[in-house]
Amino acid sequence: MELVISLSIGVLAGSGIWLLLRPRSFQVIIGLSLISYAVNLFIFSTGRLKSDAAPILETGRDIATYADPVPQALVLTAIVIGFAMTALFLVVLLASRGLTGTDHVDGRER
């Protein structure tokens, strides 16, 4: 499981960074989305990887059998914020496309 998680984080982040450095604004937004997926997976994994472990405590059971709930709460917040920011960026992207007539990030073709 560790290998799968780390490979997927690596592939997502790598593709995201490559796309972020591309000149088309659509590529940039997809790159940012991929990076935020990678970051979300990363936050999730900082609570240590466990399967079949519940994040909600019951009294009288060993605390080591539970999953850490804090990274799950963090990742939920990060997803919501990331989603809102992506939507906002999309609006600006469309406004830029409409005003400049090109989808180049600098607003003009080189």
Binding site: L20, S25, V28, L32, I35, S36, V39, F42, I43, T46, G47, V70, P71, L74, T77, A78, I81, A84, M85, T86, L88, F89, V92, L93, A95, S96, L99, T100, V105, D106, G107
Partner: protein, 518 residues
Amino acid sequence: MTAIVDHLVILPIVVPMLAGVILTLINERHAATKLAINISATLLLLVVSLLLLWKFGTGDGSLTEVYRLGNWPVPVAITLVGDRLSAVMVALVSFLALGCISYAAARWHRGGSHFNTLFQLLLMGLNGAFLTGDLFNLFVFFEVMLAASYGLLLHGSGNARVRAGLHYIAFNLAASSLFLLGVSLVYAVTGTLNMADIAARLPTVPAESRSLLEAGLALLGIAFLGKAAMWPIGFWLPTAYAAASPPAAALFAIMSKVGVYVLLRLSVLLGAYGAEGFGHEWLLYGGMATIVFGTVGFLSSQDLPRMVGFGVLVSSGTLLAMLSYGDPAVTASAVYYLVISTLTIACLFLLSELLERGRAPEADILAVTLEAFGDEQEVEREQEVGITIPATMATLGISFALCAMLLAGMPPLSGFLAKFMMMAAVIGSDTGAGVGASTWVLVALLIVSGFATMLGLLRTGINRFWVPSAGEVPLVRVVEIGPIALFLGLCVALLVLAAPAMAYMENMAEGLYALSAG
């Protein structure tokens, strides 16, 4: 009454949030009502922040108030922490906000939709970032602040703003990802997000986890240095700030200082870490590189807003280099400089538009904006009710000269005092082996950057004020010159009351470092 005093620490967040929510619900047609709500909320915020300033001024410098949200017990609760440093920052935000909204009341608040809402939400994000005691909540408040700033940057629309906004948003989204990575790494190693708790647990971190922790802290540092616009990652700032509408740009003057503020907090936290001077060289040399880049950019820019944008870089670089010393006396004078430079830069952003008004209209982005929004009739009506100050140009000229002296650090104004105290403090900080070469270079850079600032602003001033065919005298309303007078007045007040102000700052800095040592 006592109940309200107990909740004083959360009020700077609650007041703008409620105001922002109420403003969202009111239709854009009621522009006057929205403006009135915005101004009253800002005034209320000012009162709250002055109370905070007074409250933390009564005790000694290490007085800290922890506010537990929902009154949960200590390890579970998400905390807000108020101390002198955050009180100073919140007070600076509210003065700045009052000036900006007063300026915007003349016409900018109608330049696009939801200006008032975004304005209050930006204040909420700023105050939250200054008051939070929790690393993840810092991220949330950062995002609130950034989201509002994206909207404010685009306020007034137009090609330049959208293009600058695109770069600004992309850069900040990437920086936020780094922030999240850093926060989660710190959590993975220490098992907590509370800043005070992190500081307490740092010495117990096992040796094999230290590299992971340092990687996390470095990622956090890069995110904040990006916000503070350190040299290799600060290219976005002058373009974005120059494109923003003047009241928004003036308010943004504090946003780069948020990065500096968090770095100060982090470096104080790391004082308990044992790794002496972790990352301090980065701050010192990065700060010096930023000063050089800002100075060169300042001299090479043609228009005033862009020039002031580079002035923000110089001020950020100075502060970053000062932080690297980790010395209470240096930090105290750096915070004094932070207040002065923020007010001066905000003042110059506002002035730049007023000066631009008397010039050829085709060079003015404002004209394009007004055209796009079809506001021409309203402008004519405003011209009828507007009060033309006699000798407008003289007032503007005097304000501009004062700003130039403050920013360059010329005597006798407080800008000089701030720079002088910083230089004295960095030279005085090496008591043992004499003053290091890097310190002398830093002092030289401070002097050269001040001289270059003077030179650049002098050139601009000559071009604007001493040209006979400068066009018609710009029409300036009282609410527009008012904030400039307010900011300059505050700088003068800080000069007159320099002794008590510096005593306040020194107590604050000693308290900060005493907390981390104890």
